[in-house]
Symmetry: C2
Subunit: 433 residues, 2 copies
């Protein structure tokens, strides 16, 4: 006999057992329903792509993390590490088949060979939604509005979205004469919540060569007391009104009209350390668990597909980090524990009556009841153990007398109450009530 | 400036544009709902696994096709090529956390580096559903019943399921003295529909060394005129009644009780050329398009996880080939063409009224209407082109007078009928009716 192989998964990879997968599916279904109701449509792209397509614009850190190899045909291929680069390639490749503004959502796995640590996995799900082909404030607002609606749909209502505008920040940096260092400054500011003010101040002094400049930057990102006062402060520091500050006012007016302005804070310290954002940027925090970091982030970019086509396609989008969000919901006890989707179990009291059980199951299903038949005549306590593990609310017992009378006994599996001699229709009505 | 990269996907891989992805999601959602209503629960496993886990039992053909590589940590890893091997590993690894009989479905992508050809892709979706931990006829029947119910849920009602029992066939082969060649014989018989009777006869003569034996095998697989007569014939040829023929009678009785027996044909030529099946096996054909082959196949196995644990876990399951099925539905014009999930579009007549549009959108959404706001004040004909492409049924126009009066104009986008001066509630009622 062959030796046995130890069953195991790769480090950083996970199995999802039914309770966890039911919970994940439940969240994805609710998010999907909300994306659809806002007019977003699904697309799909391959998990494997040419390496030059995926990695051309990435930095060294990404290159080290990506799963890449030579396939049997000698092609350099890589597994996608996000959904943005494939979307850019997709939009460039199919732009004549799409209608613009094009609004898509894509919920799918991505892979990064990061060092596994708490809450970090090498295989994880991203939920992206973007509108491309419109540079309007209405599109910015729609994404921000949908972020709140989508998180609300999964019960995550106690959130704050921190928004900012990279353009205003860039004007400010130009005004104080450090434009050429803007990427380093943005990356440094992005670390504020993790690294703390003192460390960022020191780093900014090193980057800009001046502690005064560092102090000015820290003063800029401190902002004011509310949306309007902060906007006035950064507008002044950036040199006065312009399209970028008007954009923020337009977005804010739409939020007020929709009655959701209270969720959004203008926070000049939010930069998203990625260099492709050019307009509004945002991060979302759970008010009761800000420490886990942003659960939904994004922003506006002015050139989605520039690696592939000359045409500039502007867009705006956001991404929900589902694994981080689930971890947060678990800490806040906001996850549902569900072992199955069943309404009822028909217990197997005697295998000779298997045909009657199946016939009864068909009758219940025709009335919209989700039911299964226990397939083996195990001891009834063993059968109860299984239905308990699955959290099934109702049990159905059928004995020889029932078969003759075409009735069933219904049992409420939490209260243990029995309802005897019911027809299938009566039992179905009881289960639904 | 950098040269542009040609946007393209790998050979055998596909993008799914919205209409195709909406259709695929629609089918998956309906299948999922049916799996759940029969008590099956979802699981998920990693796309990447240790190569020794995935490939230990596979044949040379699979090894050549699998995408495998050495990861950055020096591990030999491979992308899953089916959902059965990962399920076996999963069941072995988590058997103490699961309840048996365990009924799972898994709908996910798998990868094989096959030569691309019509209807064959290197990345495709499998829909598997299995019950493990029960050796009952009730479990066999449940999978067969669910196959019909799941296909029926997606409008595929005109099907025939061909079923057979490997155990009866093996008894027959033993009786005629060619047990040791059973795998070769099964593989040869499995080619009957593709290769034709003459070719199979010749191959069987070569395998068995006797044209009389080949003729006996062909006579066995020809069967009789209906379920019962065929069962009597093969039972006799196999040496008389036994547990295997009783199993077929039990399953058939359950089908009759559930009123679905007409869909299932006992077909002794069905063998499923894979060596892990040990009991009932089946294939499903579209009556109007049998040429595309089986769209749902499976069977019973007696030792799911034998590579990993000593304990024998029996099971039964089936797999729907979603890509082949979609290809079939397209040929039969049974697919729905849908460009979005929207009920209505609020056109952008004047960007100055963007706030009013957003406010109205929020009011419609609160009444359960899926609506989007066109974000840019493009010419109205350009906006119509987009909403036509998305098959949106209703248009909503809001001008300055409407804003004052808190009304809208509703337009049926197929009949072009206009309904003027409606409140949001009146318009929502009209859209729903």
């Amino acid at each position: 006999m062959d030796t046995l192989i130890q069953p195991r998964v790769l480090k950083g990879f996970r199995d999802f057992l039914p309770a966890a997968e039911i919970e994940r599916d439940n969240l994805i279904e609710k998010l999907t329903a909300m994306f659809r109701s806002f007019g977003f449509v699904p697309i799909d792209t391959p998990v494997l792509e040419y390496t030059d397509i995926l990695l051309r614009k990435s930095n060294g850190e990404t290159e080290k993390q990506v799963f890449r190899f030579e396939d049997n045909g000698g092609r350099n291929v890589a597994m996608r590490f996000d959904l943005t680069v494939p979307f850019a390639r997709f939009t460039a490749e199919h732009k004549d088949e799409l209608y613009f503004p094009f609004k898509r959502y894509h919920i799918a796995k991505v892979w990064r060979g990061e060092k596994p640590q708490a809450g970090r996995y090498r295989e994880f799900v991203q939920c992206d939604f973007d509108t491309v082909g419109s540079n309007s404030a209405a599109s910015d607002f729609e994404i921000l509005n949908l972020m709140k609606a989508a998180l609300g749909a999964i019960g995550v209502t106690d959130i704050t979205v921190h928004i900012n505008h990279r353009g205003i920040f860039n004007r400010f940096l130009a005004k104080i004469g450090i434009s050429e260092k803007s990427e380093d400054v943005l990356r440094s500011v992005d670390k504020l919540s993790k690294a703390g003010r003192d460390n960022v101040s020191q780093e900014l002094t090193e980057i800009t060569g001046s502690s005064d400049t560092a102090a000015a930057i820290l003063s800029y990102i401190a902002g004011g007391t509310d949306f309007n006062s902060t906007l006035s402060i950064i507008e002044n520091m950036a040199g006065g009104p312009a399209e970028d500050t008007q954009r923020m006012r337009d977005i804010h007016a739409m939020m007020e009209a929709a009655g959701i302005a209270g969720t959004y804070v203008l926070d000049p310290s939010i930069t998203r350390g990625l260099d492709y954002y050019t307009g509004v940027v945002y991060e979302t925090f759970l008010n009761n668990l800000p420490s886990i970091g942003s659960v939904c982030s994004g922003g506006r970019y002015d050139n989605l597909a520039g690696l592939y086509i000359k045409e500039k396609i502007p867009g705006v989008g956001a991404s929900i980090g589902l694994d981080r969000l689930i971890a947060g919901l678990e800490q806040l006890n906001l996850t549902a524990q569900k072992g199955s989707y069943l309404d009822a179990e028909i217990y197997c009291l005697d295998e000779k009556n298997a045909i009657a059980y199946q016939k009864t199951a068909a009758a219940f299903r025709a009335l919209g009841i989700a039911v299964e038949v226990f397939p083996d005549a195990k001891k009834i306590n063993q059968q109860y153990t299984v239905t308990d593990a699955k959290n099934i609310p109702w049990g159905i017992m059928i004995n020889n007398e029932n078969i003759t009378a075409e009735t069933v006994t219904l049992k409420n599996l939490s209260t243990r109450e029995l309802y005897e001699d019911l027809t299938v229709a009566q039992a179905a009505a009881k289960i639904k009530s």
